[in-house]
Amino acid sequence: MKWLVKPALIFLAIVNLIFSQPTSAQNLDDIVRFSDQQFIKGNFELAANEYNRALFFGHRDADQLCLKIANCYLSQNKLEQSALFFDRAYFSTNSDSIKTEAILGKSFSLILDKKYILALSELINIDSTKYSDQNTKLNFLKGVAYFGSNQDDLAEIAFKKCIAGFPGKTDDIEKDFIQLKKIEKRYNPQTAWFLSLIVPGAGQLYSGELKEAANSSALLGGLIYLTISFAAKYSFWEAIVIVFPWFQRYYIGGANKAENMALEKQKIKRNNTYQSILRTIEGEPQQQIAN
């Protein structure tokens, strides 16, 4: 057995030499660096998972990580999760700039989720910031949120603040909002509904839907004719019981549809105005609002 001692010692020495090298474990900064690379490459899901891992194991910049995770979710259109992580970023930081960034990010997620009132409730917490880029974002988001919640006067003010340095552009926005007010008066849903009740089809005509107007008039005209002919052929009560419910159904239905058509027209014109405002802010030639 003596002969075994020497080779065993040599073997142990070699093994020690190999494994005594300092092992470099993957540290949290490496994970964050890797996640940053994935984010730049557009692998948002992987990036979010890795950021989450770094956050779980207690990376020192929890606020920055939360912002990054929120941005990953935002890029994936996971809006609820994104808003949640912006909220976490807000509560895990002492920096005013990150707090503002988190509020802006959360509001942006809520706006994309079409929760305009909730977004406004976040945005009104910030009056203005000392950073001009955040101010521009703030006013822009306020503008969109007010516009989405149909508070056009406040939306106009916010959009104007967003491009305060350009008098020509603010004039364009003012014109857009004047045009919008005219359009909303022109396509009043209540008027369309009322007109359809007086003369079936008139509401549709008021909304500019000629085919629908003719359809409604013909349908209700036919049902009136059927009621009268039933009354003449059989009895008045039979006409009331058999045909009149159909008339009533299409009469009310026609009025409701006329109201919906006016609303739809308003939506189309509102979208045109909104697109025009966006182009003005972006600096591209203004689109003509189609009448």
Binding site: F108, T136, K137, S216, Y274
Partner: protein
Amino acid sequence: MKKLLILALILISALGFVNDCNAQLTAYLHRVDSLFQPSEKVNYSVFAKKNKNEIESTFSTMFIIYKNFFSSQDIDACVFQPSCSVFAIECIHHEKSKITAFLKISDRLMRCHPLVSPGTYKIDEETGKFFDPIEN
């Protein structure tokens, strides 16, 4: 000359700053571009493209006429999503046996009334109606 140069430098830096702010905004602008896009009108004639025989063609034609001339003027009475007429035409296209399709349509029409007990069906988030596709 010196003052002019200073003024020009200030103007250039101010313009650069504004452009920077605009660049910050561009990312936001593209995401909110389609926020107020109105929903597109449904084109019911697409159902006619799925026709495989004369029976399906007949029902598709009836469906398109009903949707364009009657349903477009009707009150919103159907409690289901997809509506009974869409369910019916999908059944006719989907079911191999037209008798099964007829039975399914009859069953649906009998279930469609305002007294449906809540909880029986899932709610379609977009329309707020009971979700009942032909796969159910």
